[in-house]
């Protein structure tokens, strides 16, 4: 009766499940593909109707890929007179692209800076959340802490309302403390939001690591901290990696606080990207280019950590 076994799904089930997964993947991928494609269109192609979606084709549905969007994203430009344009030949391939619109590149845009802010704040707060979360989770998991359950509930309760509900008090607090529009302020804020998730997720992972390992290490001549560092941490890698991804995704995508609390100095990419204005309205290819680049770090981070996301390496060494 192997075809009805719980372990081995039948061929038909596999086909059905496979088709479903592929369909779902296509549906969720469409917006991403569309964004990536728009980044390589000219402003006219980006808003043309019916839409153009075949790369490099001369047909009605085709468009010629161009780096205009990326150039506009990274530069500020100004319109010049014909005399000026004739007297000053283009200095680079990027300059040549903008000449089509009688413009010249006068300098870099703010995008690089904003992107860097996102990296500093996103990864900074992720590191801090996971670092503090791991220590707290270990303590909650292993030591007898007075009122441990109440403390854990208190930590969790910070997630029971949308963070933006406390925007105004935080805005005033940040102003008084001089944290408004600083990297430190945003790192602390995102850490405060993420730490509850980090503590709870990591606690369940550390609870799953048998205490025998640490006890063996304690007897083998190591201190409690060394046992934690040498024995518990390597086994918690899976939990730490997945927690880090969750924390990064929140901090990276956060929009509301970033709009409210950052302006000239520490502004992150999310509030910046929609403000990219082109000639005669929003510059959709530049915005799409910005979004495409913005999506990459989380994707790369997740791919780098994916091997830790697979459980199973620690199973089987303690007999249950």
């Amino acid at each position: 009766m192997s075809s009805f076994s719980v372990n081995e799904p039948s061929v038909r089930t596999k086909w059905f499940a496979g088709t479903l997964v592929i369909l779902y993947a296509i549906i969720t991928m469409i917006p991403l593909v569309w964004i990536a494609m728009t980044g390589f269109k000219s402003p006219a192609d980006a808003i043309s109707y019916p839409p153009k979606y075949i790369i490099g084709s001369d047909s009605d549905a085709g468009f010629q890929p161009t780096l205009e969007g990326y150039v506009n994203l990274f530069t500020t430009r100004t319109r010049q007179t014909q005399d000026y344009l004739e007297a000053n030949p283009p200095e680079s391939w990027a300059d040549e692209i903008v000449r089509k619109y009688d413009m010249v590149i006068v300098g870099p845009s703010k995008f690089g800076e904003r992107f860097l802010n996102s990296v500093i704040i996103g990864f900074g707060s992720t590191f801090l959340s996971v670092f503090l979360g791991t220590l707290a989770a270990y303590a909650f998991s292993r030591f007898k802490i007075p009122l441990a359950d109440d403390l854990l509930f208190f930590i969790l309760s910070t997630r029971m309302m949308p963070p933006i509900a406390v925007a105004i008090p935080i805005f005033l607090m940040f102003r008084n403390l001089g944290l408004s529009d600083t990297h430190l302020g945003m790192i602390l804020l995102y850490t405060a939001v993420n730490i509850s998730l980090a503590v709870w997720l990591l606690k369940s992972f550390i609870d799953g690591i048998p205490t025998e390992y640490e006890e063996a290490a304690l007897i083998d001549g190591y201190t409690r901290f060394q046992a934690f560092y040498k024995v518990v941490l390597p086994q918690a890698a899976t939990g730490i990696a997945s927690t880090a991804i969750f924390c990064l995704i929140f901090a990276w995508n956060e929009y509301a606080f970033a709009v409210l609390l950052t302006t000239a100095n520490a502004q992150t990419a999310p509030p910046f990207i929609p403000t990219i204005i082109g000639i005669g309205g929003l510059d959709w290819p530049a915005i799409a280019a910005g979004v495409t680049l913005f999506l990459l770090p989380v994707m790369v981070f997740t791919i780098l950590l994916r091997k830790h996301l697979l459980r199973g390496i620690t199973f089987g060494a303690v007999r249950k």
């Binding site: 006890e215 063996a216 201190t223 620690t314 060494a317």
Partner: protein
């Protein structure tokens, strides 16, 4: 190696008194076995000595030094857990080297290589040294686990039923091996088990635990021949000692309960007993008898054929006597 002294150690978990006022001295070079059923406090005693649990009262001296306020690392003990707790992210070699690399020992790498190789050969796992700990069979894991203790030279080895998870053949092999290693090194070893064969074959001294108390401490011979109670007498001997009312047998008795091991029962004449069943084990035959409705198990010559339902006669040779509460009457 050192002498270990326990002075009235106690430990309670909530309302449960896991260990109650145990005092004993484990002599330098002794192989002491703590024997008792599950829940008798054997493992807790080990954990109290190792420092993994803190004492409620009493004191522990290792090599004449009071270690009550020392961390497990400072106590210089090695422990083998019942569950083979190998570090799953390390290879067998690194598992064995782990205690040697501790900040307390800080062994030079060439010495580590030498010691690890030596212990791997003793435990017959040199070909597995570069395997991940998780890629071993249960028996190999437990051998590595024992090896991780043996690679050191601590004041005392503590072993918590290290062989209980192994199959019978490996258990028998390692039992002999462990005894040999201990004798060669002259190590002090405290070994917890509920297996009486392990206790009888390896121990220089046996401590019998009952509900957290040490009820008797002596050589295996003393414990076997002079148990202080029915409880202790039942720990050792296969088949188990038979406890019967004295009145079943004629003559004067020193107490109301009589304890009969197979060697206390002689066939020939005397009290009548009916044969219920006989089990042939090859080198011996177990006879299940009944004396006036009371079951009794003894051994007999394997060559002797005894028919089920037959009546044989038995008489007693120097039996043990106990009072109504189970205490020994000498």
């Amino acid at each position: 190696m050192a002498e270990v002294q326990l002075n009235g150690i106690s430990k309670a978990f909530g309302a449960t008194r896991a260990v109650h006022d145990i005092s004993m001295t484990i002599g330098d070079g002794d192989f002491v076995v703590l024997l008792g059923p599950t829940g008798a406090g054997k493992t807790t005693t080990l954990r109290l000595i190792s420092g993994l649990e803190t004492l409620d009262s009493g004191s522990v001296f290792i090599g004449g030094r009071d270690v009550v306020n020392d961390t497990p690392a400072q106590r210089d003990v090695a422990m083998v857990f019942q569950q083979y707790s190998l570090y799953p992210h390390l290879t067998v070699r690194d598992n064995l080297a782990f205690p040697l690399r501790s900040p307390i020992l800080k062994t030079p790498e060439d010495e580590i290589t030498r010691k690890v190789q030596k212990i791997a050969e003793v435990l017959q796992i040199p070909h597995k040294l570069d395997n991940k700990a998780t890629a071993l069979s249960g028996g190999e894991m437990q051998r590595v686990s024992i090896g991780r203790a043996l690679v050191r030279n601590p004041s005392i080895y503590l072993m918590d039923e290290p062989l209980s998870s192994l199959d019978a053949k490996l258990r028998a092999d390692l039992r002999v091996e462990l005894k040999r290693i201990q004798a060669d090194l002259g190590s002090t070893l405290l070994y917890v088990t509920h297996d009486q064969i392990e206790a009888m074959t390896m121990a220089t001294h046996i401590g019998v635990l009952e509900e957290g108390r040490l009820v008797q401490y002596g050589t295996p011979k003393e414990i076997y021949e002079n148990p202080v109670s029915v409880y202790v007498a039942s720990r050792l001997g296969l088949p188990r000692i038979n406890i019967l009312p004295s009145t079943l047998f004629p003559g004067a008795h020193k107490g109301p309960q009589i304890g009969l091991r197979p060697e206390h029962i002689q066939q020939g004449d005397g009290t009548e007993a009916r044969v219920l069943r006989s089990e042939h084990l090859g080198d011996q035959t177990r006879l299940h008898l009944e004396v006036q409705g009371h079951p009794l198990t003894t051994l007999t010559d394997p060559n002797q054929q005894v028919a089920v339902g037959a009546t044989i006669k038995i008489n007693l040779q120097n039996p043990l006597y106990f009072d109504a509460s189970g205490a020994r009457i000498v």
